[in-house]
């Protein structure tokens, strides 16, 4: 199998995009010492409205402002790229809304139970060579690949 067969759309955008993501996480660490996983942002955002003691823990209340700014940055960065790319760069997914929603509920629950997602375990956890995170990544890659194949077999796209 050749490299071109593994990356039918080319590989440059993937590697440069990945390096850019790493520079973002690295810059956050260099400036503030903070670890830039994304899924904690959702629980931290809930601390604004959910009174249950779990959500009012210091690790959410004390970090929700920078985490929400980080999330705002995600939106702005993707918007800047899309504007620079110009006309036609906008993209609206064809995945049915029910799948976006149900998948979101399951992924959100799982990420918070696990203590990380593709960024927390996949980027920060692997970046700091934490064995539980490396194993967690192998687990979620496996179940995600199986789920995508099952969805296709059941007639989804």
């Amino acid at each position: 199998m050749t490299i071109a067969a593994l990356f039918p759309s080319g590989w440059q955008q993937y590697l440069s995009g990945g390096v850019c993501i790493g520079l973002g996480v690295g810059l956050l660490f260099a400036l503030t010492g903070l670890i830039g996983g994304v899924s904690t942002m959702y629980t931290a955002a809930l601390s604004l409205v959910a009174g249950h003691p779990f959500f009012q823990h210091e690790k959410f209340v004390a970090t929700r402002h920078w985490r929400l700014m980080y999330g705002l940055g995600l939106i702005l960065g993707a918007a800047v790229f899309t504007l620079l790319r110009g006309r036609g760069a906008g993209f609206v997914t064809g995945v049915p809304v029910w799948r976006l929603f149900v998948g979101g509920v399951v992924a959100g629950f799982g990420a918070r139970l696990s203590g990380g997602c593709t960024s927390g375990h996949g980027i920060c956890g692997i970046g700091s060579l934490q064995k539980p995170s490396i194993l967690a990544v192998l687990v979620f890659l496996t179940t995600a690949i199986l789920t995508a194949h099952a969805a296709r077999a059941l007639g989804g796209h």
Binding site: F7, S9, Y14, G17, G18, V19, C20, I21, G22, L23, G26, L27, F29, L31, T32, V38, Y42, T43, L46, A50, H52, F55, A62, H65, R67, Y70, L72, G73, L74, I75, L76, A78, V80, F81, F91, V92, T93, R99, F101, V102, G103, G104, V105, V106, A107, G108, F109, G110, A111, S114, G115, T118, C124, G127, A136, F140, T143, I145, T147, A148
Partner: protein
């Protein structure tokens, strides 16, 4: 809080997040369809994205604490240990199922909105609901 003051920390988080979001859009990972191509093993680009990001992050996490006494805006270099326990892996397995179904994970769900992909709002609301169920009924803090 780092000594640069809350405003400097907020600016740092915004700028870092913007680089992250720019990279997600550049790598096309904000598109559920791109993630799907990987999960169906048709295009292995996602591994380059995750590998490239983890590689750069790994260098930063390894080198910076040896080079500097603390972060540029003060305070200390933090760590976020993950744990060998059932919930780490049960959670990861469920996370993968949801990710495989939706094609987006927590970062791209938010970043995709910036690229104009408004239906991803359904995933953002879903992730919030999932995070609420987890915290409300299964929440536990490490000592």
């Amino acid at each position: 809080m780092p000594r640069g003051g809350p405003r400097a920390v907020m600016a740092a988080a915004l700028l870092s997040g913007a680089l992250f979001g720019f990279g997600l859009a550049l790598s096309t990972m904000v598109r559920p369809e791109s993630v799907r191509e990987f999960l169906l093993l048709k295009d292995f680009g996602l591994l380059l994205v995750m590998g490239g990001a983890a590689g750069v992050t790994g260098v930063a996490y390894f080198v910076l604490p040896r080079l500097l006494s603390g972060p540029i805006l003060g305070h200390r270099f933090e760590t976020h240990p993950s744990h060998f326990e059932a919930r780490t892996f049960i959670g990861a397995a469920l996370f993968g199922v949801g990710w495989g179904l939706a094609g987006v994970c927590p970062g791209p769900a938010v970043a995709g909105l910036g690229a104009g992909d408004w239906p991803l709002l359904a995933s953002v609301v879903g992730i919030l609901l999932g995070a609420w169920i987890q915290g409300r009924f299964f929440g536990r803090h490490h000592a």
